[in-house]
Symmetry: D2
Subunit: 289 residues, 4 copies
């Protein structure tokens, strides 16, 4: 959003690094009387790759929304061999939350949602347990219980996908959802499923990371939010944070301290995604300012 | 420096916010075949002010170093009402260090200097005590002893200024220098004197901040690097950092723990200044990426 | 609580430093077959003052709950000139929350309460506005609306006190309550009112600290939880934390980023208080492990 | 050291958890007129193991230094089945530093040593390269050059051991020493070799951790100090710390940012070891206050 809360257009770009890209992109906006409200760029010198996010006010812009895509593709993106996307700030994405039994991340997201911290719609919560149905009801969100066993997993994922379609979901947040999604499920939502893993990845991937951290005797624990790929806990990292611990911290205390990091890190990742500030390239993220 | 270690030109700008500035500036560079290696911009919506730093390779650039200033002034800066500066990355600034008796910041700067972390020349260390003369000698830097008393201060500051001129000093770092510089001295080096204050400013300005922090019972201590102005400890902040403490920490322990923060925060500020990444506006800093 | 969830006794002590205190206290427990589950001590060498917290299992202890106080007072506390308190871990304290319009701290406390992170009873929320009545209802907590104006303040504080009595409240948490309590009110709850202030105290005490932080151009913001005294924002600090910011952060962004620190810092202080891990001496806190 | 800088005795203990240990130990000191200046204890409930460090002034103590060990062993340690050690604060340990080519950790240790931050003697620096000979000379420390190749390693380790014996070295600090010590070498100095590893262990053990961190796209880097065991980078962790990074940070920038964490983390570990505040049990450390 711009300072006047006028809707904005957001373009995210990556392309081979080359002379003059910023000039071309900003000139395109300027020629059409667009007022840039945010611009961030990055050059990866090892990959020789250029990345950019630019956001400008639609108010007074010389092209209609429909004209922007073909005009930019023709004038800038095609000649520069860009991969790019266009969004508008008043397109509010629709998000589903998957949970199991732990409530802390769900409560955190709900509280932010209800107080309008997140520019998103959350029509549905899906869970393999009934434990958090009451929380969903508290906040007036639909709750769909889809239990999962090894035998039923394939069929139940189909039910999950049906729910996502029914609610026209754009992206999914796994808020301590304790099931591994199948590769097929993940393939349908590339860079659209955000997980919170309760360790400082790549340390302690997989199950029971706090137990593993305790056994190793680390002095700092962490949490990692990442886009889900078919490789477990190996997708592109969006954000991480840590907490200092000591020998006094038993496993239950690690779990407790970890909750506060998990919910902060997950919410930051969700916010960056909603605000179209993330870009994935070669399994790493660019997080624009 | 660019990826190839070719010299670069660096322009820092601020001006009234207006449409198309990034396009104009980048177009100016692009038209002259310049390759941008870094670009960072910021709009302060409250002040309606635009800030930008752009760095491009001089190799292959269509203007000579001498031509850049008048060309940019005429084509861009004057029409946009810009305050701006131009530097070249191979202009190595000359830095003087002022110290008193504490060695930790001096050692830290010396170690970075000797291992080429800092793109700077340090020809001289000035002190009101002889305590650190040996450190200067260890690192082969000239040491000038200028003792100061209330009576001699005015004259001795004149001697200090003579030394700065003699060594052609561009900027001064106060590495726990325990004398207050006069307003006249400071006026001669605007945004060119960097101090480290051993508290989390604006808390505990003035003398003995660790004693004050202990008395107040804070749970976190800090350090602040800032440009020196005629207002004591009130100049524009460049960087800050903190350390967690507890009731176990006596004043000597605070002093000890604080040293590690002080030296890190001071060195980060010095590096940002050397790399022309700082910009001061209305007693606040923009620190470019 | 002990490892077996047997109830424990907790003694907090301060007294003039002297030889043999730990031996005396632990011998008292040992002679009565008590099993120590936690012990933390601190000597303030400047004040020549000794502080200690010890917790032991009541199961199998040779004295009844009623006998502990007189026995310890006679054998240990009186001869050593101790100020001390005795609590039992199964005495669940009763806490009231005061709020105004901002919901983030309230939601955070509610979520922790509902998921049993806090060993406390929260029977009532008091507010000078109706904004958060729905949140109270969501979590099934009584909500009492007591509007306050300059004229009505004295009377309304009396109503607040009546509510505290009616609900048998042991301590009060000000979760971004935007009214200043009178000295009389505070005097009735010494070291029993916990506030969260949205700055890194003592910097930016008083109103609008994020505005002040922005004006000063700090690079780090903070939050401070403290016991309320009659001096505004000057009571003993329980916990603090910080977040790094940059020139990009406008005042609304500081307010937003600050919320996450505020709720974490407040909840840590509340938990320390509930677990009887705090001790106040000379306007500073000892926070036991 | 005590408040009066009188020498102190330090006992570190671990034993099966049992009722009354603190009482016994403190009573032993008290009966002999000892004044406790620090006491820290920990119970590991999972391992049912008790840990304790206690420090008391020797001035006025009823036993001579020589009498303490047999008296404590007989009265306390044997009946409680303790593993324990006794040290005196005026026994200054002798430390050797191993380096290769990078100077930052060496400079940091030297600066702390020269300014008396560390209660230690450093008579010798050993290196497989000559690069840092000048730094040793700057600080007046003996420098022994022992080059190492795959073929000569066995013999050269023998030379290293000879140097350690000649200089009567108590413990060794690997300050970015880029050779792996043999299991035989390590076996001779159990819990007496401290390494700094330039990652957040257990992530990125082994060679080139910053390259690995960059490839994985982490948002935080770290450093880990640990006691060296025969398992590479798997010894008990003494301390860790981290720094936040972004997509802007190339590998050289990670290396640069990492240096500041490495030197802080290494120096904290060295200080804890010198002050006899570490205790290793089952490949994890207790770090006493």
């Amino acid at each position: 959003m711009s300072r006047n809360n006028f809707p904005t257009a957001i373009i995210r770009i990556h392309c081979p690094d080359q002379r003059g890209i910023v000039a071309r992109v900003t000139d395109f906006i300027d020629r059409n009387q667009g007022n840039v409200v945010a611009l961030d760029q990055h050059t990866d010198k090892e990959d020789n790759r250029f990345f950019m996010r630019v956001e400008w006010e639609l108010e007074g812009f010389g092209l209609t929304r429909e004209q922007i895509e073909p005009a930019f593709q023709h004038a800038i993106a095609a000649p520069c061999n860009m991969a790019w996307s266009l969004n508008f700030s008043d397109q509010i994405p629709r998000m589903a939350i998957f949970v199991s039994k732990m409530s802390h991340c769900l409560y955190d997201l709900m509280a932010r949602y209800q107080s309008n911290e997140l520019n998103v719609q959350i029509p549905v919560i899906i869970s393999n347990h009934k434990s958090l149905e009451d929380v969903a009801r508290q906040f007036g969100i639909d709750f769909v219980h889809i239990p999962i066993t090894a035998e039923t997993k394939k069929d139940q994922e189909k039910r999950q996908l049906d729910v996502l379609k029914e609610y026209r979901i754009d992206f999914v947040v796994l808020a301590r959802y304790m099931q591994v999604l199948s590769a097929e499920f993940v393939a349908g939502y590339p860079e659209k499923i955000i997980n919170i893993h309760h360790s400082f990845l790549p340390a302690f991937a997989g199950a029971k990371p706090y137990h593993a951290a305790h056994a190793r005797g680390v002095k700092i624990i962490g949490a990692t939010s990442h886009y889900v790929t078919s490789d477990l806990d190996a997708g592109p990292i969006i954000d991480q944070d840590i907490a200092r611990i000591s020998h006094h911290d038993s496993i239950p205390m690690l779990i407790q301290k970890g909750k506060d990091i998990e919910k902060i890190v997950l919410s930051r990742a969700v916010k960056a995604h909603i605000d179209r500030k993330t870009l994935v390239y070669h399994n790493r993220t660019i997080i624009f300012d």
